[in-house]
Subunit: 297 residues, 6 copies
């Protein structure tokens, strides 16, 4: 029985590289080539795993789901092509293909495009629950089409996501009006951060469920959806963000949604303090896992 500080380095204190045949597999993606402001998300997977030790002992007091009683494996980090965005996306897509239910940690938001390409081959276009400060539907990023402001532009264009079953939560960054209008015109629902603060988590969860519906969905969580005071360790912070209690309260209320996978992205540990950003990311993955415990969705 090891104290929290002495747990092995895998997610929730497991070994970092274990079998890929578990019901739920967790992989790290140490990628940051698509960042447009501060970089360093390549170190995200390591930090999120380290922070997750706080969650290794016991069950979720809301619903008593217990990852320790589930089939969960940390399969280590995906290999990438150093300095090559397109090459890395291809590698991510290929590695993601093999898993029944994949949860990924870290890397910048560019990686979601590759993950959706892999997932969509099995599921067809998915519904999308997208937490973020930014809509990430820019057609390009200062000239680069494949970077962290564009995954959902491409995902919608490539038919990986059904935009009418897509909802964005926490949006608040400056943006060109054309980017906003394109997104709305595709049918995407945007719930700005101020709206979350004013409406409360129950109303937001209800709206998310209404948008996403009963078919297969995906959770893409950009850590900058959370306020910089609670998640400073990220590259493109925006003030006025969501609070972690709201995020948890919303996620807990999504237990009817048929999630087929998730990612948490944009954790940049060099800007974190006392692991709080990494802990937020780890807890989001843990909350997602416990939603899928026996007796749950």
């Amino acid at each position: 029985m090891r104290p929290t500080f002495a747990l092995p380095p895998g997610f929730l204190g497991g070994c970092a590289v274990t079998s890929g045949s578990a019901d739920f597999c967790i992989a790290g993606i140490p990628f940051d080539l698509g960042t447009t402001n501060r970089s360093g998300t390549r170190d995200g997977p390591h930090a999120v795993r380290r922070a997750s030790r706080m969650l290794a002992d016991g069950a979720n007091p809301v619903g008593w789901g217990d990852p320790g009683a589930m089939s969960v494996a940390d399969v280590g980090d995906f290999t990438l092509a150093l300095g090559d965005i397109a090459g890395s996306l291809d590698l991510i897509e290929r590695q993601a293909a093999g898993f029944a239910h994949l949860l990924t940690i870290g890397g910048d938001h560019t990686v979601t495009l590759a993950l959706l390409r892999a997932l969509c081959k099995r599921t067809g276009p998915v519904g999308m629950v997208h937490f973020d400060a930014h809509v990430d539907t820019w057609p390009d990023n200062f000239g680069q089409p494949l970077a962290h402001g564009s995954p959902f532009f491409h995902a919608i264009e490539e038919g990986l996501v059904d935009p009418r079953r897509m909802v964005q939560v926490g949006i608040r960054s400056p943006m060109p009006k054309a980017v906003h209008d394109w997104t709305i015109a595709r049918g995407v629902t945007i719930i700005g951060a101020e709206q979350v603060h004013l409406d409360g988590p129950a109303a937001v969860a209800e709206r998310i469920r209404a948008v996403v519906g009963a078919q297969a969905a995906y959770l893409s969580f950009d850590i900058d959806a959370i306020d910089p005071g609670q998640a400073p360790g990220t590259g493109t912070p925006e003030i006025g963000g969501l609070f972690t209690w709201q995020v948890m309260a919303i996620l807990r209320r999504l237990d009817g949604v048929r999630f087929a996978g998730m990612d948490v992205v944009e954790v940049a540990p060099a800007y974190d303090v006392a692991e709080i950003t990494a802990l937020a990311a780890a807890t989001i993955v843990w909350q997602y896992l416990t939603l899928h415990a026996a007796g749950k969705s």
Copy 2:
């Protein structure tokens, strides 16, 4: 008239070691042997005193209680037995025995057990207002019975606390269901962090008062009750925590409670940023003091 930055190093800018015969005595307990994740609470008392200089000048704008007009003394730090948990608890108990009304700062939560042993000899079983992210009623801590996850298990077992007059506020960590059920079965009231966010401070304060009743009570404040974004300097952080405005709003509304003592624990300065965690702890002590100003409870 010294500027804030030039105040002496005792609590609220007094001298660090003064008479123990004041109405309210403040002692530091530099203890961290009972920590199960990050250590360093031994440096808490120093940091809380240093941060308290911000509160040295003037009265509480809510109610105008003024510690400067009260009989308050900082009696310095308790002596401890290096590397020896049980020996240190004995020393704390003995040193705590001599004070009319004791407020302690710093150390990990293990110390509360010794403080209650000392207090209870005078008061009998006390009511308990316990702010925390964790219930701290584990029967042991990875094999160690005397550590920071267990003070209230022992306090209840030893009859130091009346569990039906005990309320826990801010609870949200993972835990074995058995620990939760044992606590509830003893009669303890648990108000989870999400509930505080949803109900607001006035309702929570009302519920606390109802549970604690009119007899002697104790305030034990684990700084990790507060959200890691506002209190990163602690060893076992959990996201989704209370906000300091809520804590202050609740405490201000407890002026009818007959408090016989208090502690604030688990401040680990090595993980703090810009003294914000230490300042939160200092302000909680200051708020407690001003509750007891003349014309108050």
Copy 3:
């Protein structure tokens, strides 16, 4: 088209020293001689400019005001008299006099007195929207009349501000009751931080508008109005502060107010983490600017 991280060092990624004939001019004031606790606000202007790069690309999603479509210039930093408070205030006043609409960043709150002296010559006594943790109406600061706890004592005494059209938002620090009573007796409206949390931003904005009325007003924003968890980089933090989402939600609702200038003060980067305090300050300036976009007030 430069990525966010590669923008020039002026506000919103412009050049740092450009023409002073723009409609809106931004100046830095690297001053910290009036601080009473932690110093270092001399580095505030640099940090706020650097952080503002996150806001350079696109329009405000609330109302679509776009600083890029306005006449805005960063005129660099004001010159000051090293080690000389009164001399520096004279220099600030003289330099501020030449601008049609001036927004200043950084320095401690002492500078607001000089800025109001300059402004008032053109406008007469102004209404005041003052965000702060402290009332800043101390008659002196540990013996020094010209320091950061006194700008509004002097501004009221000198007739620069109409106290019946002055509102203070976020107040919560300890203070002598006499300071509070003097302020109220002058006619100033105080909205404590807890009140903001309980009432919500729409009610607060409504009250601000009622106090300030239709004549010329000024926005003075002390960054310590915001909670230390979201703005640790300041010298005199107080817990229980405003959240940035509330600040933004309030400011957005002040679009009918006839603002003639603004400052954001007390950013001390040495205590900041991951630029979050500087980003908050930058975003407040940006929000103020977009309030003044065409089609707006």
Copy 4:
């Protein structure tokens, strides 16, 4: 072929828990109950492993020893008794017993006593190369006999070390003269830090070899031997310390010594900056390993 930043979390980028039958086994000891100033060495093993990734690719340019071509295994962390010094030392001794050649990382210096008890059963009294700022021969530590200032007092008293074959390098802390005199009287050789600076590494290495001789020896490296400017991440820093280039230059010249094991202790990551202390510790282990490469001692 993984980039440095994407290596698995074991020492030199291996898996953290692998076979214990390798020629050289590396174990972590997350222990800090014996610290007398700043704590936190429990997190040392994790940090040293993480920092070691910089050394994973290639051979030592001095001598071309290559750990990748040797039989090396990271066997993970030892289990400990939470909050119990004596109990933990027993556990360490028992776990250390099984390895042919053991290298341990992290924990405070107390652990060396247990490691020597285990080793000495196989080798008899060993020679000792001890790098440290402190002699660590205090008979007790503020009343506690088993703590980080006393391992060599006990090791000499218990006959685990031959004091005439023991050399201490880097000593410079304040100490009671009686502690110094006891150490010298036992026959220990002390080379103060200033002496290392004045004499240079070749002369120091020569003297170490002369003292230690041809029989079995042990290397115990307290990271505070190194100057705080190069190794801030430790609990009891002393200025005027050794430079890492000197440490490396000395170690490289010890290739004739018959080392039977080593430890590097006192890395406290909470006080580190940019991993430099952890990297120093990792590099010392790596240098020790490459001393034992084929064609070497």
Copy 5:
């Protein structure tokens, strides 16, 4: 006359974007796509400029060269292709072509290849003074040929550098023996870090001059040549590095060398403390400039 803390944001307190027709032009290159461990050198140019304010006032006390009396311009940052190494190198080469004597700050070491391609068109193969912890002659970087471990492999292969007139100073990292041998076989002189410590700066400078000779040469300074204790803000630190006093003492003794340009690379501010790494980089550029003052080389 502005105090140091209030200088404009260009190098040595000048404006950031000024004329490119000066005798010496300074450009920033915010590039980090070629990093193999910690990233973040994209923020290097900003940090080096900010730190250079310490050097704005006065002359070099060794030789009295004064950049303020020279024709020096900070031309701002080069534009780059986001997420595209080869595209960025093309852009750098094109922008570098226009300057008489170019000094660049920041970015990872990959950029030197582009700078040499531009320079060599005017000068032919240059001599090279290369400070670094690593030889940077790897043929590829975990599969990527164009990254920060390979600039000199390509520079030698492309004939941009004359390897017999190339000297590497400070080398100490692990490396495959084949990389070392390839480098030596080309004729490059390697002076390891330990050699610098043992020989002293005068001898090293003499050797550098002997290798480089009287023809055109280039200075490429990787900040990781300096010890991590003095330059923690970099991505691939190695202990045992050069001290800044040695670097300065060597550079001062190179006043006969015919330098045609220089770069300082690999400053990663997210890992820096108190700007010391950025200050080291700025001082190296300043020392290089003062070598070229009137009456000098």
Copy 6:
């Protein structure tokens, strides 16, 4: 017997405010109005006292001087005039007058002028051992005559120091040649930092003794004499500085000098890491004290 971490907050773990009639009195001066770059030296005294706890237990291993056996008192901090340089200097001078042998910690270098004014009334012009990166003989500081670049200009002009008995050690900053020439012309001896590195501490100590001679002298130690890698916590760092081992080795060799007082200045804790700068300052005071132990000078 308190562990190091639990010592009271005065210098060497004594009480912070005790009798002023001791043989050696230590006072803090929390002043930073004279700083020209980064501020924050107002927090120096607190940090140096806190760091000094590492030196509380035992004697100096070089010479066995033991402050615990001497008559030493920490008299707390001097009062100052907030925001008023000249007024503060007057207050410092008056408070310093009453002590037999005064050692002061913290504040910026401006304070030395006031301390010398007080001392000189008793001793007449003193010899001066001045460690610094800067000569501090500027006639003014960006227009301000009384600031931290000018104490020795005034001290020489006012006849407080005998410039022919004054030696400056560690000088290396850029400066106007006129400032340098004025200093030399007065008769001051300058030993540049590079010279210390090349000559070694014994030769430097010999030269200091020769310059200072047998009459009363004063030690003024600007912490930026030390290299930024070992003392980052200061406002005007310069690379290439002295190492702490050299400083200690020099000071130990000055035991024949008739020191009448000392100060250590320019510690700015906001820029420190892991207390290493504060520890360096504390150790310098401790070394000075032990020079004066019985059986010593």
